[in-house]
């Protein structure tokens, strides 16, 4: 195999990335650089992307070690808005807890929590206009909660029950709500990226004022779709915000397999000549401020922004994943940027606008509301218990009008079910 011709040279060796910590390892994150919360400058919204490359390598932060909002990026939100932000995040967490448990109780096939990443979705959704179009990945349920999408609709979808607006056709958590500016989630990674750019291009071409935002994980930035989208966004200066949620893990593959050993994900922006920001994703105010800045940029025709949200996936990839098999449990507890809900809570307390009792009461209120809504949703059924959609709907929606071959297969299926006498056969 190996060539014998160059005996004077050392043989080549292949670098295969390896995460720093594996199960059982002591975790020391001291090599993660956490700049001071007021360190990052905030460029003018119209600044040329080439003038702030350092923002692709640093970290936009607002909340400091003393739970105060500091620096140029401080969005100076009033206490009511901060409390709403905290509630949206707490509600997302309570929802995740309950739905994860529902999956474990066999009420549905699949669930994905966003624990530890609530600020990424909630902070962004609060900074966007309510009619801006989101092309999310599968861990931005916080957008729907922030936009007051009825929680029961989310649960109906998770249960694929008879109340499910998607008629049981889609995997749990792959929500879709056109009315709420929330594009149908795909299980295929990063496909939403060029779609968001296309939507934004259409908005610009039509002289609209709405912008688009999209999210993918750091692992998915390796997909061709990501790079196609960046190219299109750059070429046409599309009014779009490209969010990379760097939660360190893509199932069991650490961010090194997407290129994190070499550079940051925000730095991808530099090669495309688009604005890049690297943001503390566990700081809801930083996420909010960065999104607001990028949205203003987009809305004033100054093009796209790529935002890396530096965060940590606190739980498994999904209910089908067991992270204890590949990473150290200490990672989350030692994460240098803390927990997003705790940090915002502590900020409100430091402002004198909140206290532990109110937090406890709010958490309980969230849990109660989720539990009550779950009961209502379960009246519409749970997955695998009963037939929630009429059988023949299996063939609906493949095309606008059903072609002959689907009609024929539909008739065949109905006849077979009828003949079999199985419970499926009932109307």
């Amino acid at each position: 195999m190996a060539s014998e011709q160059r005996a004077n040279l050392k043989p080549l060796s292949l670098h295969v990335p390896e995460p720093k910590f594996r199960p059982g390892d002591e975790v020391d994150f001291s090599d993660i650089e956490v700049p001071a919360a007021d360190a990052a400058k905030r460029p003018d919204v119209g600044a040329h992307p080439d003038t702030f490359h350092e923002l692709s390598y640093g970290l936009v932060r607002v909340l400091d070690e003393n739970d105060r909002a500091v620096g140029q990026w401080n969005p100076r939100l009033d206490a009511d808005v901060l409390r709403r932000m905290l509630r949206n995040m707490a509600m997302t967490r309570a929802f995740d807890e309950r739905m994860f448990r529902a999956q474990r109780q066999g009420k549905t096939s699949f669930y994905m929590k966003s624990t530890g990443e609530e600020a990424v979705a909630v902070g962004a959704a609060m900074a966007l206009a309510s009619d801006d179009m989101c092309f999310p990945s599968y861990r931005q349920q916080g957008i729907l909660i922030t936009r007051n999408y009825p929680m029961i609709e989310m649960m109906n979808q998770i249960y694929s029950n008879k109340g499910d607006k998607l008629q049981g056709k889609q995997l749990p958590i792959m929500y879709s709500s056109k009315e709420d500016g929330f594009f149908s989630i795909s299980g295929n990674l990063a496909t939403q990226y060029p779609q968001a750019v296309g939507w934004a291009m259409a908005s610009a071409a039509k002289g609209d004022t709405r912008i688009a935002a999209t999210w993918c994980g750091e692992g998915s930035t390796a997909e061709g779709d990501f790079h196609s989208a960046c190219t299109f966004a750059s070429v046409y200066r599309a009014p779009v915000i490209l969010n990379v949620v760097n939660n360190q893990w893509a199932i069991s593959s650490f961010s090194g397999f997407a290129g994190a050993e070499a550079t940051t994900f925000a730095a991808r922006a530099i090669g495309y000549g688009i604005a890049g920001l690297r943001v503390d994703g566990n700081d809801a105010l930083a996420v909010y401020a960065a999104t607001l800045w990028a949205a203003e940029r987009a809305r004033t025709n100054q093009g796209p922004t790529l935002i890396e949200h530096f965060t940590y996936r606190a739980e498994g990839h999904s209910t089908s994943d067991d992270p204890t098999g590949y990473r150290s449990a200490q990672e989350y507890s030692n994460w240098p940027l803390g927990d997003p809900v705790t940090r915002l809570k502590n900020h409100l307390i430091a402002l004198g606008e909140w206290d532990e009792e109110r937090q406890e009461a709010m958490d309980k209120e969230c849990a109660d509301l989720v539990r009550k809504t779950q009961k209502d949703a379960e009246k519409n059924g749970i997955l695998g218990h009963g037939l929630h959609q009429p059988l023949d709907t299996l063939f609906e929606g493949v095309y606008e009008e059903m072609p002959w071959h689907l009609r024929e297969q539909q008739q065949q299926m109905m006849a077979e079910e009828e003949a079999s006498g199985r419970p499926w056969a009932r109307k």
Binding site: M133, F135, K165, L166, Q167, K169, Q170, M174, S176, S177, K178, F183, S184, S186, N188, T191, Y193, P194, Q195, A196, V197, G198, W199, A200, M201, A202, S203, A205, K206, G207, D208, T209, A212, G224, D225, H227, S228, A229, T231, F232, V235, G397, V398, Y399, E400, P403, W404, H405
Partner: protein
């Protein structure tokens, strides 16, 4: 903000010259279809590599940018995945994009966006979002394009639920079918047989080339008209054998039938999904024989599906085994192109064979 929800506001009046016809080749017919649709519907946009200022490497979009502006007709970066992904997003916004993939051989980087996104969007969102896009792409061989400019990948797309696949064989059909495809609210793959862009092809590559000026299919209405998707066209009536074909092969078969004197019925399928099963069944039950001709590779080519359909539905009417005449299961060769191409010799042999017990 433009109001894109009011149907009346964005549909321009029908062009005056609707009743007129003109001689067109297939490129001009395709161009005319886009022109007519862009004039009628502000939401129709045309995009792709080299389609803007230059008007496309085959000139199919010539003049459109000049007429409709750069916001509606524009060049794109060289990323087929991006072109289709962007088109899907534009469709979600409410536009009706007509992306061009420069050669069908280049379509594979876009497969995920076509198969997992465009084709599945209506189903997975229960109709909330759709992908009303028409992907135009020159396909097929016979132009010494080698293996990267000659392929016929139609059966890959025919296999995918949620996509429609259309292949015209004349300028007249190309325009009417393309208008229907653009108006269709589902994603359509529109494969243009580039060997017959400039004229019908009788299969004799070393013979004189013909243009569309004398072919009835070269007479094309200048205005708006539709040919429904899923309706075949019987281009020759006959009693002894049914030939199912589409695109370039329709013309090759017509010529072979003329040369051999076999009384064949030639059914031009025009679209393979949906396929016109009634026309197929009716013809095969009448003739009792069925030969399928396509340029694409044989194994799992669309002929396999047609053969199964005919066998399932017409078995007791058949007097000979269903026969496939196709390209070989090899890459499309360059210098040996005409040995690969299912030309008059291969089709003639197959015809003789299927008729031998008659």
């Amino acid at each position: 903000m433009n109001d894109i929800t009011t149907e009346e506001a964005r549909i321009a009046p029908t062009p005056e010259r609707e009743g007129d016809t003109a001689r067109m080749n297939m490129i001009q017919a395709v161009n005319s279809a886009m022109d007519v649709m862009m004039a009628r519907d502000d939401n129709v946009v045309v995009m792709g590599e080299d389609v803007g200022y230059f008007g496309g490497v085959f000139r199919a979009t010539a003049g459109l940018q000049n007429k409709y502006g750069k916001q509606r007709v524009f060049d794109t970066p060289i990323t087929e995945c991006g072109i289709i992904g962007v088109a899907v997003g534009m469709g979600a916004y409410g536009l009706r994009p007509v992306p061009e993939i420069q050669f069908a051989d280049y379509i594979y980087p876009a497969l995920d966006q076509l198969v997992s996104e465009a084709a599945r969007l209506r189903y997975r969102s229960a109709g909330e979002f759709t992908a009303p896009i028409t992907v135009r792409s020159p396909f097929g061989g016979g132009i010494f394009g080698g293996q990267t400019h000659s392929q016929s990948p139609e059966s890959i797309f025919a296999h995918v639920s949620g996509l429609k696949t259309v292949i015209p064989s004349t300028p007249y059909d190309a325009k009417g079918l393309l208008i229907s495809a653009i108006e269709d609210n589902d994603p359509v793959l529109f494969f243009e047989p580039k060997r017959i862009y400039n004229g019908p092809f009788d299969g004799h590559w070393d013979g004189p080339s013909k243009n569309w000026s004398k072919h009835p299919g070269g007479e094309v209405p200048t205005g708006y008209y539709r040919i429904p998707l899923g309706k075949a066209n019987t281009v020759r009536e006959g009693q002894d054998v049914t030939i199912l074909a589409y695109g370039t092969m329709v013309h090759v078969c017509q010529n072979v039938v003329k040369e051999t004197g076999v009384d064949a019925e030639i059914v031009d399928l025009r679209s393979i999904v949906p396929v016109d099963i009634e026309a197929i069944e009716e013809s095969v039950k009448k003739t009792g024989r069925c030969m399928i001709v396509h340029e694409a590779t044989r194994t799992m080519g669309f002929g396999a599906e047609l053969s199964a359909l005919v066998q399932e539905r017409c078995f007791y009417h058949l007097e000979a085994p269903v026969t496939r005449v196709t390209g070989f299961d090899t890459p499309y060769p360059h210098s040996l192109e005409w040995a690969y191409f299912p030309g008059p010799v291969r089709i003639g042999e197959a015809l003789k064979n299927i008729m031998k017990d008659a």
